[in-house]
């Protein structure tokens, strides 16, 4: 029973991490580059929710559309500042520019909100529900629901709409996509907007579960990075599974040992996977990415 309780908490945490990892993979596939500011966008989303709650004292669910829209706008700005001027340079240039932008975001948040930990409002209300002896926080259920809807929505967009097909074509072969008349610049900018919106929602969700600080973004990007490496570089499904694994280490394994040991074991697991399966658990030969 204790395991089940911990697993539910872990799945809720993993659902939020999955949103971060999904955005990370979308940009990775679209540009071939790592967006190292993705974690700082999570922190920005959390602080945005905190700020909006100061003006609008409503449940987090009502703030969510505003967070999505404003964070999508921030994603477009990230694309314009950190990607667009370097689009013809090697991916490592974007990697470095997004690290720089992440530092700007961290310091911007520090200047605006201070270094004290802050908390965003819950999606519906606080409290918990009990099922057969299991105590489940309403926020955990809400996180799982929102994350499932968003991840499902992104999958529907990618698989069943012309816009989604264009986003995927751009991610798989930008030159050929352009030669077919796909507006690849707009597709990449949209990908940044989508990734930032997902990060923002993750920030709103996590800033209620845990306090958030301006430097918290570094933790999130490291977790997203590990999730993507474990799942398979560039694999959407793998990143989601990897995010769940990271979260289960932080909850289930940490409860049985302690947080520091669980973190050490997570890194040991990562190294083991890299040794025996360098392409990640769900990775395939290059050129087969979905």
């Amino acid at each position: 029973m204790e395991f089940l309780q911990l697993a539910i908490n872990g799945i809720a945490l993993g659902a939020a991490y999955a949103l971060v990892a999904l955005g990370f993979v979308l940009i990775l596939n679209a540009t071939g580059a790592v967006n190292f500011a993705q974690g700082d966008l999570v922190a920005a989303g959390g602080f945005l929710a905190v700020a909006l709650a100061g003006f609008l004292p409503v449940p987090g669910l009502l703030l969510l559309p505003l967070v999505v829209i404003l964070m999508a706008g921030l994603g477009l700005a990230v694309s314009a500042a950190a990607y667009w001027p370097l689009r013809d340079r090697p991916p490592v240039a974007v990697f470095i520019s997004t690290i720089a932008l992440g530092i700007v975001i961290q310091n911007g948040l520090n200047g605006l909100f201070g270094a004290e930990p802050r908390a965003a409002p819950p999606l519906f209300s606080g409290g918990h529900l009990e099922f057969f002896g299991l105590v489940i926080a309403r926020q955990s259920l809400a996180i799982m629901g929102v994350a499932a809807l968003l991840i499902g929505g992104v999958q529907l967009l990618l698989k069943h709409t012309q816009l989604g097909r264009r986003l995927r074509a751009t991610a798989q072969d930008r030159e050929v996509a352009a030669a077919l008349g796909v507006p690849v610049g707009a597709m990449v900018a949209l990908t940044f907007a989508l990734a930032a919106a997902l990060a923002g929602v993750a920030g709103l969700l996590l800033a209620n579960q845990f306090f958030i600080t301006p430097t918290h973004g570094t933790d999130f990007i490291v977790k997203a990075y590990i999730a993507v490496v474990i799942g398979g570089w560039g694999r959407v499904g793998g990143a989601l599974a990897g995010a769940m694994l990271v979260a289960l280490f932080e909850t289930v394994v940490a409860a049985w040992t302690d947080y520091a040991v669980a973190t050490g074991l997570l890194y040991a697991a990562l190294l083991t996977i890299l040794v025996f399966r360098p392409q990640g658990l769900f990775g395939e030969a290059e050129g087969r990415r979905a």
Partner: protein, 236 residues
């Protein structure tokens, strides 16, 4: 001869200090197949990429259907009616065959469905494999998909780069036959090929390239009859 759909004058394509294409003059009219023939490294692919706007360092004049293409992005050129079948097929590997077709269309959903059905009629094998991921298709199927994908854009000029490379002879023949059919329907086809025999058998005119320059040009029939010229160019 009808007025040229594509007119190229003094085209140069360069990479760093190397000129892959130098001073090429060329024209292609609606309804004809023009074959670009030459050995590996002759500059055929660079020429096609230059026409499609995929190379940064291009000089010279390119006019398509009365529009000057200077400075236009590949997107704008595609939307003017230039289709491109790249060397090595380059289908979108993680998408199904059908998704590869659909993504290239700029029409509404109903017209997209109609056009896809037309492509399946042209390449029945693709209809059978429509739900397979593109990376699982055979080389021949991928080549058919690459041609069909470009045709989804309803091009007035189709640039085709090495469509028979690595294909079994029978498959290569069927791809070439389709290109002939495309020209018969009124579009222009500019076909880059190392397989001189296959290209000359289907083309109306041929342009022979060596080291980035045009070495000779004429009707496909006349070029095909000049064994010595062909051997000297292709190194055979």
């Amino acid at each position: 001869m009808a007025e040229a759909l594509l007119t190229v004058a003094g085209l140069t394509v360069a990479y760093a200090d190397v000129r892959a294409v130098e001073g090429v003059d060329l024209n292609v009219s609606a309804g004809e197949v023009v074959a670009l023939i030459g050995a590996n490294g002759a500059g055929k692919s660079s020429l096609l990429k230059g026409l499609m706007g995929l190379e940064a360092r291009v000089q010279g004049n390119i006019t398509f259907a009365g529009s000057d293409l200077a400075g236009l992005s590949p997107l704008r050129r595609a939307r003017l009616g230039i289709g491109y079948v790249p060397e090595g097929r380059r289908v979108f590997p993680g998408m199904t065959a059908e998704e590869n077709l659909l993504v290239a269309s700029r029409e509404d959903s109903a017209a997209r469905t109609v056009r896809t059905a037309e492509m399946y009629a042209l390449f029945p094998q693709l209809a059978v494999r429509r739900h397979a991921p593109a990376w699982q298709l055979s080389g021949g199927e991928q080549q058919m998909l690459a041609v069909a994908r470009a045709l989804m854009t309803r091009p007035r000029l189709l640039l085709v780069d090495e469509p028979t490379l690595g294909l079994a002879p029978a498959t290569a023949q069927s791809v070439i036959r389709v290109l002939r059919g495309i020209a018969a329907s009124g579009a222009a086809v500019l076909l880059a090929e190392q397989n001189a025999r296959a290209a000359l058998a289907t083309a109306d005119r041929a342009v022979l390239m060596r080291l980035g320059r045009i070495e000779a040009s004429g009707t496909a029939k006349a070029i095909a009859g000049d064994e010595r010229l062909l051997r000297s160019l292709m190194g055979g």
